[in-house]
């Protein structure tokens, strides 16, 4: 118990520094960008010199970068994410509106890729070197090589335009008035294609890791012992080989959580899903520094939390962690 507590404390202290680096780094990056939020706004409206000046003033962009960073950090200390310039709304509201969508999309994609990926990996790894192993490992490699956006475009044309099995875009039917289970089913129906496009590349990854991990475990002594004891092959595969090969996948789960949000930028815009990835892209285009900071902060906190959970789970699952912890 105390080991988990120590790990938790160390992680939390470290996380504060990590978050500070992320915030200051993102701020400086956007500060270096040519053009500010007013420039981005004027693209669609135009305006004369006086109007431009007045807008910079009312959006607080006439202050120096250092002042704005200090103000931002000070507000952040009070858990205030500030006001979005592009949407003229509190950033907390803008993000909270999109967060559930992102969490559902990520959660479903992770479940699909991890669940199906590890299952297929076990299937392939149960008989290393067999035909099905060769086929699955090559097929997964091919899937891994297909760009997500490319897959998304093809899926839309085949399954939404031609076959009309799934809707082309959106998160749910517009103003449908559905509630409860009907609404959940509606959302699920909308998310089949985006979740597939986003999850397939990770499915391939988990499949390959599982298979490779199992190949390693097969060689170990205790498997030979188990075989000598006369346990059934199915039992050995599931209870011993797969269970031990699963551990690195759990670590990967933590590492991939950050990457998936990046991949969702393209997928969300192709499928018009109102999630955080698309919002982040808009924030960059509109030079909405506080909004981008807010999104990156929220996603960083999420990533840190997920990794913490993964580590704690790992500490309980694998007795060897205690020995190697000193080096972590």
């Amino acid at each position: 118990m105390s080991r988990a507590f120590l790990l938790l404390r160390r992680r939390l202290v470290g996380s504060v520094f990590v978050l500070l680096i992320v915030v200051v780094g993102t701020f400086l990056l956007l500060e270096a960008a040519p053009g500010d939020a007013v420039d981005a706004y004027l693209v669609s409206t135009g305006g004369d010199a006086g109007l431009v000046e007045a807008m910079r003033q009312s959006w607080g962009l006439d202050q120096s970068a250092a002042t704005r960073l200090a103000n931002y950090l000070w507000a952040l200390l009070h858990l205030d994410l500030g006001q979005s310039v592009a949407f003229s709304r509190p950033i907390r509201d803008v993000i909270l509106e999109r967060l559930p969508v992102t969490l559902i999309l990520m959660g479903a994609s992770t479940a699909l890729s991890f669940g199906l990926g590890s299952a297929l990996g076990i299937y392939a790894g149960a008989r290393p070197g067999s035909l099905r192993d060769r086929f699955l490992s090559t097929a997964s490699l091919a899937l891994y090589a297909v760009p997500g956006f490319w897959l998304a475009l093809v899926l839309v044309i085949v399954f939404a335009v031609d076959l009309r099995w799934f809707p082309i875009s959106g998160f749910e039917t517009i103003a449908s008035g559905k509630t409860g289970f009907a609404r959940a089913a509606d959302i699920a129906h909308h998310l089949v294609l985006p979740v597939t496009s986003l999850g397939v590349i990770y499915l391939a990854l988990y499949l390959r890791m599982m298979r490779a991990g199992m190949a390693e475990v097969w060689r170990l002594d205790f498997i030979r012992a188990a075989r000598a004891k006369g346990l059934s092959r199915r039992r050995i595969v599931l209870a011993h080989v797969a269970r031990n090969a699963l551990l690195p996948l759990v670590t990967m789960l933590g590492l991939q959580s950050a990457q998936m949000l990046g991949g969702s930028v393209v997928i969300e815009s192709i499928f018009s899903v109102p999630g955080l990835g698309r919002l982040a892209q808009e924030a960059v285009a509109l030079r909405d520094t506080p909004l981008l900071l807010g999104i990156i902060l929220v996603s960083a906190v999420l990533v840190i939390l997920i990794n913490l959970l993964v580590d704690i789970a790992y500490a309980f699952l694998d007795p060897r962690v205690g020995a190697s912890e000193a080096g972590a």
């Binding site: 960008a33 040519p34 053009g35 500010d36 939020a37 420039d39 981005a40 706004y41 004027l42 693209v43 669609s44 409206t45 135009g46 305006g47 004369d48 010199a49 006086g50 109007l51 431009v52 009312s58 592009a86 949407f87 003229s88 803008v94 509106e97 999109r98 475009l153 839309v156 044309i157 939404a160 335009v161 009309r164 809707p167 082309i168 875009s169 959106g170 998160f171 517009i174 103003a175 815009s269 192709i270 499928f271 018009s272 899903v273 109102p274 999630g275 698309r278 919002l279 960059v284 285009a285 509109l286 030079r287």
Partner: protein
């Protein structure tokens, strides 16, 4: 000249054929407008401010014009190209210092309060003049508004202001918002800016960020027949190919503003149940312009600018980049403008040999590698076509020995680079022609504009003759004399080329055959759609 008329004719007949072939099935059906239904429309962006009185731009009008109405709307037949909306008549005084509007009676706001001249006075003095991106120019001398009764508003100007300009500005610049909603607190922060309240045929219902806007029918609309549709939904589709797919899958019924890429129109026009409509955007013409930085010594030479003008194959641009959905430009006013356009300007035919000769004459002989000099070329990123034209222009310049390097900026960076930092040699811009040179094309030639003003002359060009014409036109009250001045302006601009006009284009709509009464005025996409209907 004969070259140009040929192209023009072929383009027009092409468009007409297209219209005829796709419109035929509809003609066979019931022509009687039907009531009810939800029209779902593609939208590619979500404006932060939906108040058209503050932000006069097409992106805002596309949604808000159904909710908030102007004093008058553009019209194919009406006098001066207008049809009345919240004003029933307008008249300018001899001295150009006052304009009298008679307002419509029996109009109510969506919250039930009556619409009166006080609302017009408030909108004009508190919003259009001080806050609106375009109103700040047109109404800069507006001093006071007299409201002798509830349905009369008399605009008083400190200096004579051409009535022709006011008239041309009515559709885009005069959206009226309710005084009682806006009079307390800061106007820019009023909640009605994101949930507008107006007098139009549709009421704002809800906005789900990143998903859709929904408008509901206003049953108390003043129009003779109340709106046909029950609902309009704008579905946000940020991806460029989404609108075409959604139309084909019958998830939406209309994609306006060329949301379906031009390159896809030929295919989609053959999809049963869909029609391609080229009408309804005549009042929203965009100009494809090469902006020039005259601070570059080579470009300060008119011969070099003429060489560039000769190097551009305008027919190729119209045919290949715009797939025929545009017209070649002869000068700073588009051909489809009935009031101001003149063909009587110098012509720059596509002639690579002549362009090379002009550059030799100017003293820029090619070096050993065949290159004369290097340029930085910044195409505006807002439209597919401006970027593609950038790709083309780089090749066209290479053919005359000018080595152009393309810079691919995003929108904000492009604004800053061109209009504030002047960090460009050539730029490709899509300025809007707003029906009057005073509020559009002249600011690309006029000198003395401060740094940072978007879509204006930031190339350091200065020509006393052109400045004098612009200044004189601004105070010329007689419409005929004013028009002649702008014809003179066109001639001078094409002679001296402060910027090069390449083509003028309007947008295309793709709609389901079930949608009726579309494209029935020159600003249809940004008008109120009260008579648009949907076959059930």
């Amino acid at each position: 000249m004969s070259d140009f008329s040929l192209t023009r004719r072929s383009v027009l007949s092409g468009a007409a054929l297209l219209l005829a072939s796709t419109a035929l099935p509809t003609i066979g059906r019931a022509q009687e407008p039907q009531k009810g239904g939800r029209l779902t429309v593609a939208a590619d962006s979500e404006p932060r401010n939906l108040n058209p009185a503050i932000v006069a731009s097409n992106g805002v009008f596309f949604i808000s014009s159904k909710i908030v109405e102007p004093l008058a709307e553009a019209d194919y037949e009406g006098k001066d190209g207008l049809s009345p909306r919240l004003a029933v008549s307008w008249e300018g005084s001899e001295d150009g210092k006052s304009v009298t509007f008679k307002l419509r009676e029996g109009v109510t706001w969506h919250d039930g309060k009556p619409f009166t001249s006080a609302d017009v006075a408030f909108s004009a003095l508190q919003i259009w003049k001080p806050l609106q991106n375009l109103g700040r120019v047109v109404f800069k001398d507006l001093e006071a508004i007299e409201t002798p009764d509830e349905h009369t508003a008399v605009f008083k100007f400190a200096k004579p202001t051409p009535f022709q300009l006011i008239r041309n500005a009515l559709p885009a610049l005069t959206s009226v918002v309710p005084k009682h909603v806006y009079e307390n607190g800061k106007i820019e922060e009023n909640p009605a800016n994101t949930a507008p309240i107006g007098t139009g045929p549709f009421k704002f219902a809800e906005h789900k960020a990143g998903q859709y806007y929904r408008l509901e029918k206003n049953a108390a609309y003043w129009g003779k027949s109340e709106p046909n549709l029950d609902e309009i939904v704008y579905q946000v589709l940020p991806d460029r190919s989404a609108a075409a797919n959604a139309l084909e899958a019958e998830e939406i019924q209309l994609a306006a503003f060329s949301a379906v890429p031009l390159a896809d129109l030929d295919r989609i026009s053959k999809v049963p149940g869909l029609k391609v409509v080229t009408k309804g955007y005549e009042g929203l013409t965009y100009q494809l312009v090469v902006e020039i930085n005259h601070r570059r010594k080579e470009l300060a030479d008119v011969k070099v600018r003429q060489a560039i003008a000769h190097a551009i194959d305008r027919d190729f641009v119209v045919k290949t980049i715009f797939l025929g959905y545009a017209e070649t430009a002869t000068g700073p006013v588009p051909k489809n403008d009935k009031q101001f356009y003149t063909p009587d300007v110098p012509a720059y035919a596509f002639d690579v040999a002549k362009a090379n000769a002009l550059l030799d004459e100017a003293g820029y002989k090619p070096g050993a590698d065949g290159k004369r000099f290097k340029l930085k070329l910044l195409p505006a990123p807002y439209f597919n076509e401006t970027k593609q034209f950038g790709d083309y222009l780089r090749q066209a310049l290479a053919a005359i020995g000018i080595d152009a390097e393309l810079v691919n900026n995003d929108s904000a960076a492009h604004m800053k680079a061109v209009y504030t930092d002047h960090a460009f040699d050539l730029a490709v811009g899509p300025p809007v022609f707003r029906g009057d040179p005073a509020i559009s094309t002249t600011i690309l030639a006029q000198s003395g504009i401060p740094d940072g003003v978007p879509f204006s002359n930031q190339g350091g060009y200065k020509n006393a003759d052109i400045d004098a014409i612009i200044a004189k036109a601004a105070e010329t009250l007689d419409a005929k004399a004013r028009t002649d001045l702008y014809k003179e302006f066109q001639k001078k601009v094409v002679e001296d080329l402060p910027f090069i006009n390449v083509a003028d284009w309007t947008f295309i709509s793709v709609a389901s055959d079930k949608v009726g009464n579309i494209a029935d005025n020159p600003r249809w996409a940004v008008s109120n759609w009260s008579d648009t209907w949907l076959a059930q």
